[in-house]
């Protein structure tokens, strides 16, 4: 019984780790891209008035 529960726990921890790790990686990538996109859009917005002034 104990070894069965141990095997069960190991299997579920492994599966949770794989799916959770992958989802975490995707969410981190979304956050990183959103930050970079905001920065790029800000730079683009700043550069537009300068061009108009020129």
């Amino acid at each position: 019984m104990a070894s069965g529960t141990l095997f069960l726990a190991i299997a579920y921890i492994a599966m949770i780790g794989i799916i959770g790790g992958w989802t975490w990686k995707l969410l981190s990538r979304v956050g990183e891209l959103s930050d970079r996109l905001s920065a790029a859009e800000s730079t683009l917005a700043i550069s537009q008035p300068n061009e108009e002034e020129e």
């Binding site: 019984m1 070894s3 069965g4 529960t5 095997f7 069960l8 190991i10 299997a11 579920y12 492994a14 599966m15 794989i18 799916i19 992958w22 989802t23 995707l26 969410l27 990538r29 979304v30 891209l33 959103s34 970079r36 996109l37 790029a40 859009e41 730079t43 683009l44 550069s47 061009e51």
Partner: protein, 218 residues
């Protein structure tokens, strides 16, 4: 919902006699093992459709679907490949059986997705490399029906089909209920993962577009 499946698997089906499975408690691995396997087959189907769309029609969405299918195939394939031998150790006394067709074809299928994911990261993104990887995705898909049918044709160590397996197969209604709930929750998980991956692709495309505009300005 997958977490609810896990909770139900541990708490709601205790009325079943686990001695029938010869592995007390360890049988509960199936509540995620089987849905993960089905999810991986769906991912390999996405990989096949995407590969075909790119290889035959040069459709950009096809390539993106190919990449998503390979990644999700690897994620869910690893869940199956890792949980299966743990279950096998508890139930059979051995983690693997090299004479079992089901185990071996599934291992090759997961290795194929690993090859594709590593290849996508290591190789330059050119039409030639896309063609190569797409052809692997197209021909590798043949392993999916072989893997599904293996337990019906050459059943050895791996248990037979639990749903639609004919007379003598089937599950206790309580176990079946939790398993079906698990299958449904993993469908939502797959859909969510695909959507998340497409959000990333959309953000990457937008970023590339803005960077292109900035490059022309400065």
């Amino acid at each position: 919902m997958a977490a609810i499946t896990l909770w139900l698997g541990f708490t709601w089906a205790p009325g079943v006699n686990p001695d029938d499975w010869k592995a007390p408690e360890a049988y509960r691995i199936l509540f995620w093992h089987v849905p993960a396997a089905w999810a991986s087959f769906q991912a390999f189907t996405l990989l096949f459709i995407g590969s075909g769309a790119w290889f035959l029609k040069r459709l950009e969405w096809g390539w993106k679907l190919h990449v998503v299918g390979a990644q999700l195939g690897l994620v869910f394939g690893l869940c199956v490949i890792i949980s299966g031998p743990i279950w096998g150790t508890a139930e059979w006394g051995t983690p693997w059986d090299l004479t079992d067709v089901r185990l071996n074809t599934y291992a090759i299928l997961t290795s194929l997705s690993l090859f594709l994911v590593m290849g996508h990261q290591a190789q330059a993104d050119t039409e030639d490399t896309r063609d190569t990887f797409s052809s692997v995705g197209l021909f590798g898909f043949i392993l999916v029906p072989i893997t599904i049918m293996a337990i019906r044709i050459w059943q050895n160590r791996h248990p037979g089909p639990v749903i639609g397996g004919g007379e003598g197969s089937g599950l206790d209604p309580q176990i079946l209920m939790v398993l079906l709930f698990g299958l449904f929750s993993f469908q939502i998980l797959v859909a969510g993962q695909v959507m998340l991956r497409y959000i990333i692709v959309g953000l990457e495309d937008r970023l590339t577009e803005i960077q292109g505009k900035l490059d022309t300005r400065f």
